[in-house]
């Protein structure tokens, strides 16, 4: 019986197709209708679907003048005009041959198209927490990566650039820390393919959609637990007149703030341990500059009825403020798509090529070789070079090196060449049923060449005549994705289904070679074999290779009734090679529903209310560990040697315990949301509450040896909770013909709690310490404890300074103050909780003012309710150091009026933990659009002047309270060796031809 029904359906479908074909062939009682489709601003709309009502087989799209000509229209029929983002219109053609229509955008809040996993949805039908930022709302200025475009514009998405390194990528976090071992960075998809914030040039981005809650992200299964950021690039539309655009800008940058260290006068006044060497050197000046950045983007795009094409070219050269640091990028992306067989088949190719280059230097090193670090600690009375013309060095003082020589005597280059190729075939045999095959490969070659001359401090100290290395890395990501979607709307029902398969293969390999003691510095890294170290066994060489696979099957069903009730179910079954034999596969379901109350009959009277929808959803997502082979018993050859029969032989050592039960970390998250729009869209917004729990959280457990071969095992034991709220408000407070003011406010709050780290088999103490501060402090500064958030500082509590000039530390047991001694900082008996490093509240406030041809935008960001460990104070607000020190080392920081003496070693205590609250004007831009008369040559000319990081209002005494917070265990740490953040001024122009 079933078979019969199927045949029936099929035959009906075939006969329908036949009928349609016949219809279009045989012209009876039919006519030709033409016209123009425009928007309310009378701009022609390109690519509007024009079909005959009741016979969607007859249709065309409008050309780049918004015109259409449609044959075979029934004499008394009607035409349907539909276009994404606009309200569909039906117009009768009875007695008319010319039908021009004006399409209404309607309620943006409802009709806007948002990108969801593997497809798009009308915002009104969306049942989960998704935020969209379109290109016109992006921040302009000195934009380093895609993160800068939307900073402060998406509630709950924390984007931070904690350093001024021109090669540093923004850190992004969504809804808290969910994993201790896996990544906490959202999945970033660029046109459906895994990438990062720098994959495409910011100018090429059309929109950025953020899938915030698990019910939306679950379709991405194991990669979706931190949320998904979907970057859609600009391509081309059919019937698009060829347009070319140029946008370019130039920027100058300098350090936003520098630390107040002693100068040569202070040294002469005996405020340091330095002796007066008779010179006057501003070391920070000596290693920095006002840097220059220029960025150019040229694009061409267009299309006719069957073929579209685009090409984007971007060149960016960004200098860093520290000498010799830069990022040089050439990016080109081009694609062509062709529609065949009456649009049944679409084939597209996209190619993207990137060349990236930057210098190898010590500017972002996290140790004593950091350039900035050496500049601030160096004796300001020392010369850069001595009378003999040699670099001034004093190796008698430990960890103390000339920062200028470090820059000059290190010569290195990092080069990356990246190619992404994508082919897609889309088959749409029936309107509404689309099957798409995407094949993609993303391959990168990285090559680092490094040369330290004989005069580099490391060579001088070790008596090497030059050190050189080459480091090659290759990565390959192959993707295959097959999806099939079916959409249908009948009467009041909307139905959509998706089924898909995805296959991802990742491969990494590399090779490294090092040699030293060259005959001459002349060769640099270009004659590696010349070094003597190869002959005496001190050269080194390594290579590696690893791969992994990720396979997923997924499906989604979405149903809507009468624009009031929407429900969505999705599931992904995903497997990764990284896990134990018993647990390679996991299932990630989600369910969500929305109720658009404003469309109910009983709400009809509330005319001021355009839209009110409540949403609820639950989804399960997974977290994948970063490395492969984690479940296997691995052995290393040659990591140790042993002496046997008069010979040294390679040993075979265990490198990991097996864990065949190793499996996915899973996060289950609830989301309740509310979307609203009032007063004709003048005020819109959304509110979300979420509660997520990670279980089976991976953690490296110390296990007893024996019986285990290795002393730690990676196991799924822990649990963590995150909950919070997110609020977005968009408003247009003023709107007149000449002047508009648009404002966007975002707010988010997250609270985190570590619920468990133990089970019967794997036990740990209920806490562990982290936030290690290196030599000479060598103390922990943070603690993760079950029952508390993961961002807690844990240090001795200083209550004053003794007459001996040492900290007075409170003994928590007795409440008495005890004079500091060196054993306190790693002794739990003296440490106490001392604030937390992640903000309670993150705020964004964007404003755009338009007056005639002028526009002004301001993007504020703010973080409140958190503390910062000022590492520079730990190290240099101290009078025991042999190095230069902060002027504040001379301040009495407690009411007892005592100052720190040389008896107080550098240490960590809560006296160095400060409130971090800040409000920052992240970007200020003034733009002017030339009021051009229509001409053949130029369509649009716009100039803009912007300033990034103009000012920060904060009580924090360090460099910049906006921290990357990229590493767990170091939340709230303002790192000693960070590349200081910068302020830049940018002048830019956009031209459209």
């Amino acid at each position: 019986m079933k078979n019969k029904v199927f045949t029936l359906c099929l035959s009906r479908r075939i006969s329908m197709l036949l009928l349609l074909t016949i219809c279009s062939l045989a012209a009876f009682a039919q006519k030709t209708v033409s016209g123009t489709v425009t928007d309310k601003g009378k701009e022609p709309l390109i690519g509007v679907n024009v079909t005959v009502v009741g016979n969607s087989g007859v249709g065309v799209v409008t050309d780049y003048n918004g015109r259409y000509v449609l044959n075979d229209v029934p004499e008394n029929g009607a035409l349907k005009f539909s276009y994404v983002g606009y309200e569909t219109q039906e117009v009768s053609v009875a007695g008319k041959n010319n039908v021009s229509v004006v399409l209404d955008e309607g309620n943006q809040e409802v009709n806007e198209i948002v990108v969801v996993g593997y497809g798009v949805q009308r915002k009104g039908d969306v049942t989960s927490a998704i935020s969209t930022v379109k290109a016109e709302d992006f921040t302009v200025g000195n934009i380093q990566d895609a993160g800068d475009l939307i900073k402060g514009k998406v509630a709950g998405l924390t984007i931070a650039r904690g350093t001024g390194d021109p090669n540093d990528e923004s850190t992004i976090r969504l809804r808290g820390t969910i994993s201790l071992y896996g990544s906490n960075t959202p999945l970033i998809l660029v046109d459906g393919i895994e990438g990062d914030l720098t994959t495409v040039a910011p100018e090429n981005i059309e929109s950025i959609d953020v899938l915030k809650d698990a019910s939306a992200a679950a379709i991405y299964g194991t990669r979706g637990a931190n949320g998904v950021i979907i970057i859609t690039t600009k391509t081309a539309h059919r019937q698009q007149k060829t347009t070319a655009t140029y946008s370019g800008y130039m920027s100058i940058s300098s350090f936003a703030k520098t630390l107040d260290f002693m100068d040569s006068k202070d040294v002469r006044n005996g405020l340091t341990n330095f002796s007066d060497k008779g010179y006057d050197t501003d070391w920070v000046d000596a290693i920095s500059r006002t840097s220059f950045t220029h960025n150019h983007n040229f694009s061409i795009r267009g299309g006719n009825e069957t073929t579209t094409y685009y090409a984007d070219f971007t060149y960016r050269n960004a200098q860093g403020v520290i000498m010799d640091t830069y990022s040089d990028n050439i990016k080109m992306k081009a694609g062509v798509a062709h529609y065949m067989f009456n649009d049944i088949l679409k084939v597209g190719f996209d190619l993207q090529k990137t060349w990236h280059r930057h210098s190898v230097n010590n500017a972002s090193n996290g140790d004593n070789s950091n350039v900035y670090h050496q500049a601030i600690i160096r004796n300001p009375t020392s010369p850069i070079k001595g009378e003999d013309g040699e670099w001034d060095e004093n190796f008698g003082v430990s960890y103390y090196y000339n920062p200028v020589s470090m820059l000059e005597e290190l010569d290195g280059l990092f080069k990356r060449e990246k190619t992404i190729m994508t082919g897609t075939i889309t088959l749409e045999p029936i309107k509404g049923w689309q099957t798409k095959l995407m094949l993609n490969t993303d391959r990168s070659n990285n090559h680092t060449s490094t040369f330290y001359t004989s005069d580099y401090y490391g060579c001088l100290v070790n008596n090497y005549s030059g050190q050189a290395s080459h480091n090659y890395g290759y990565s390959k990501h192959d993707n295959l994705e097959l999806t099939s979607t079916y959409k249908q709307i009948w009467d009041k029902h909307r139905f959509e289904a998706l089924a898909g398969y995805s296959y991802q293969y990742n491969e990494f390999e590399g090779f490294y070679a090092y040699n030293r003691d060259f005959a001459t510095d002349f060769f640099k890294y270009n004659n590696l074999a010349n070094g003597e170290a190869l002959k005496n066994g001190n050269a080194s060489m390594t290579s590696y290779k690893e791969d992994n696979k990720l396979i997923g099957f997924f499906g989604r069903v979405s149903y809507g009734y009468d624009n009031k009730y929407n429900v969505l179910l999705s599931i992904r079954r995903e497997g990764s090679s990284k896990f134990g034999a018993n647990h390679k596969w996991g299932s990630f379901p989600s369910v969500s529903a929305g109720w658009t109350i404003s469309n109910e009959e009983f709400m009809k009277d509330f005319t001021w209310l355009d839209n009110l929808k409540i949403r609820a959803g639950y989804g399960v997502t997974g977290i994948i560990p970063n490395e492969s082979y984690l479940s296997l018993t691995r052995y290393n050859y040659g990591s140790s040697y042993y002496y046997s029969d008069g010979e040294w032989k390679q040993g075979l050592d265990v490198a990991s315990n097996p864990n065949p039960d190793l499996k996915w970390e899973k996060t289950g998250e609830w989301d309740l949301g509310l979307d609203w729009s009032v007063l004709d869209g003048r005020i819109t917004g959304s509110f979300d509450w979420y509660y997520g729990k990670t279980s089976g959280m991976l953690f490296e457990y110390t296990v007893p040896t024996p019986p285990n071969l290795y002393t730690s095992t990676l196991a799924n034991v822990g649990e963590m909770r995150n909950s919070g709220i997110e609020l977005l408000i968009n408003a247009i407070p003023v709107q007149t013909d000449d002047f508009t003011w648009k404002t966007t406010f975002t707010m988010s709050h997250n609270s985190n709690k570590l619920l468990s780290l133990s089970n019967d088999l794997y036990k740990t103490n209920s806490f562990y310490n982290d936030g290690w501060l290196g030599e000479p402090i060598t103390c922990w500064s943070t603690r993760m404890e079950v029952g508390k958030p993961v961002d807690q500082f844990y240090t001795p509590h200083a209550v004053g300074i003794s007459e001996n000039g040492k900290f007075l530390i409170e003994n928590p047991k007795t409440g008495e103050a005890e004079e500091f001694d060196g054993t306190m900082c790693n002794n739990d008996d003296y440490s106490q909780y001392a604030g937390h490093g992640l903000p309670d509240v993150t705020l964004g406030w964007g404003n755009t003012f338009n007056y005639k041809s002028f526009d002004l935008s301001m993007q504020f960001t703010s973080q409140l309710g958190f503390q910062i460990l000022n590492q520079n104070r730990c190290f240099y607000e101290n009078n025991a150091v042999a190095f230069n020190r902060l002027r504040s080392a001379n301040d009495a920081i407690f009411s007892d009026g005592n100052k720190l003496s040389a008896l107080q070693p550098q240490t960590v205590c809560d006296a160095y933990i400060e409130d971090g609250d800040y409000l920052k004007l992240t970007n200020l831009t003034v733009g002017y659009t030339l009021p051009l008369k229509e001409n053949k040559y130029v369509k649009n000319v716009r100039f803009h002047l912007s300033c990034d990081n103009l000012f920060t209002i904060t009580g924090y005494s360090g460099l910049d309270p906006e921290l990357s917070n990229a590493s767990l265990g170091f939340y709230g740490h303002d790192f000693r060796d960070k590349y200081p953040t910068t302020r830049s001024f940018t002048l830019g122009v956009n031209l459209t031809f």
Binding site: I551, Y629, Y642, G651, S712, N827
Partner: protein, 541 residues
């Protein structure tokens, strides 16, 4: 091209490989995916040896834990440089379960034991009696060291365990019995001379001797019979006539000591293959490296305690063979001058909480070689013949004679060991009275404020130490050879307290409670407690 890629990629779809998640491993070996050969199995012996190297000279290794807590030297906070912290903890005996040293010893010790257990479980290994004896010997050595440091330790002697099995601590008597019975089982089966790093028959006797020698200090049951047992096993070594004192004291601390007749058990280290001893880095000032043309890192942390330096006889050649102070000279004989003046190490130390970089004499007992060598590849003289002689001397003194040998024979043995160190033979002689008398170490708290020069001092002296003279001799002979903590715990004072707890030195204060012995052993590291809920922390921590 496109078509080819397309069809290639569709291929996996058509077959089961579209769900195939098997892993391919390339640059490491995984037991699940590799057939071990006989050669591979031989290489698995490596961790048996390498873990002892790491236990001894890993960062914060066996010699550090045995001496930084002692009355010989320390690593103070260096004003302007750093150090201090956990080394202060060790010096002041304020041990905590996060102390890195307790981690190092336990971690490498048990890794060595696991490697032995794994190999002893292998049928191929079982068929070789020499391999079995060697592995059982090594395992007993690891257990002896862990027993001395932690006492209440898990005793695991097999490899095969049910899933989820976690070890519990054995009673000290059980562990003692196991070590003794293992050593007795392999007695005479290891071979007379197997070369560096291999346990031989004399090594087995040395471990037994150490076990017997310290029995009273560990169990405090008043049973003196173990001193006799110690003499018996040491006599076997002496009677074999296989070993002799080397002509020069320093012959035992060279980069290569395999030629010294005194070495009973030595751990081999080798340039490019196995590095360890970083005392050149840890003790020397950066500018001071010029004395040897040494290029490795050097931060000049550790320093000799002035109270200990003062105990040496000025004519004892070991004083200058072990320590340097005063103006330092480069290889070419020029005095070393730094930016801040001549490089002069003082013999004074201000405070454990604050010393200037040049304070304190530096250890040069281990050979320092130029270039990037330093002390890193110096072999370890784990058991020396001199040690065997001194054990016998001590036991004879403790027993007042044994099997016809007298206390004077004991004094003769000590004199014999000292002779190579004195130009004037008369000065080498030690009498029974001297050895049984008090120590010449001027015990007492001695701290100076490095800024004001203000002194905080107490005087305790060493007169009340039983066999105090012998204790001094042990220090002069075995400084830098993981001896001192064990010796200080074993030697007692007239009030019954051991020297380790009962005396103050530099910035370490004596324990006031005579019956408090909890510091005799270290706390178990927090990581290991966390990893195994069966473990119980040692009492008092």
């Amino acid at each position: 091209m496109k078509k080819i890629i397309f069809s290639l990629c569709l291929l996996p779809l058509a077959f089961t490989s579209c769900t195939d998640l098997d892993e391919t491993i390339y640059d490491t070996i995984a037991a699940e995916k590799y057939e071990f050969t006989a050669e591979d199995a031989a290489s698995m012996f490596s961790p048996v040896y390498s873990n002892l190297r790491n236990m001894y000279w890993g960062w914060n290794g066996l010699n550090d834990i045995s001496e930084e807590c002692s009355d010989l030297w320390c690593t103070p906070f260096r004003i302007g440089v750093g150090w201090g912290d956990l080394y202060i903890t060790l010096h002041q005996h304020t041990y905590v379960n996060t102390l890195d040293h307790v981690w190092t010893e336990w971690y490498y010790g048990y890794n060595g034991i696991t490697a032995c257990n794994q190999l002893l479980d292998d049928e191929g290994v079982q068929s070789s009696p020499t391999a079995v004896a060697q592995l059982r010997g090594y395992r007993a050595l690891y257990y002896y060291l862990l027993f001395d440091l932690f006492r209440n330790i898990p005793l695991d002697t097999t490899y095969d365990h049910p899933d989820g099995w976690q070890p519990s601590q054995a009673k000290p008597q059980e562990t003692w019995d196991f070590i003794i019975s293992e050593l007795n089982d392999i007695k005479g089966k290891c071979g007379a001379d197997n070369g560096m790093g291999q346990i031989n028959d004399a090594t087995v006797n040395m471990i037994l001797a150490k076990m017997y020698l310290n029995h009273e200090a560990w169990f405090r049951d008043g049973d003196k019979s173990f001193y006799g047992k110690a003499i018996d096993v040491v006599n076997e070594i002496i009677d074999s006539k296989q070993y002799a004192l080397s002509a020069n004291y320093l012959d035992n601390f060279k980069e290569d000591i395999s030629g010294s007749p005194e070495i009973i058990f030595g751990i081999p280290f080798e340039y490019l293959y196995a590095s360890g001893n970083c005392y050149a880095n840890k003790w020397m000032n950066e500018a001071g490296r010029a004395t040897w043309g040494f290029n490795g890192w050097a931060t000049g942390g550790s320093a000799c305690l002035p109270q200990f330096l003062a105990t040496y006889d000025k004519d004892d050649m070991r004083l200058n063979e072990t320590w340097i102070w005063g103006q330092q000279y480069a290889l070419n004989g020029d005095p070393i001058i730094t930016d801040d003046g001549p490089l002069v190490y003082t013999t004074t130390l201000s405070s454990i909480n604050g010393c200037y970089p040049m304070e304190g004499a530096r250890l040069v007992k281990y050979e320092i070689i130029g270039s990037d060598w330093g002390t890193s590849y110096d072999d370890v003289p784990f058991f020396r013949y001199a040690d065997a002689l001194m054990i016998k001397a001590e036991c004879l003194l403790r027993l007042g004679g044994y099997k016809g040998e007298t206390e004077q024979d004991a004094a003769n043995l000590v004199t014999q060991v000292r002779q190579r160190n004195f130009a004037n033979p008369a000065k080498a002689t030690r009498t029974v009275a001297q050895l049984k008398g008090g120590s010449c170490y001027k015990y007492g708290y001695q701290e100076t404020d490095p800024n004001t020069g203000e002194k905080f001092e107490t005087t305790e002296g060493g007169a009340d130490i039983i066999l105090g003279g012998l204790l001094d001799d042990l220090a002069w002979e075995f400084i830098g050879e993981h001896h001192r903590r064990q010796d200080l715990v074993r030697f007692t004072m007239t009030n019954g307290q051991n020297v380790y707890n009962g005396k103050s030195w530099f910035c370490k204060k004596a324990l006031t409670d005579v019956n408090d012995h909890h510091l005799d052993i270290f706390p178990i590291g927090i990581d290991f407690l966390d990893g195994n809920p069966n473990l119980v922390q040692n009492p008092g921590y």
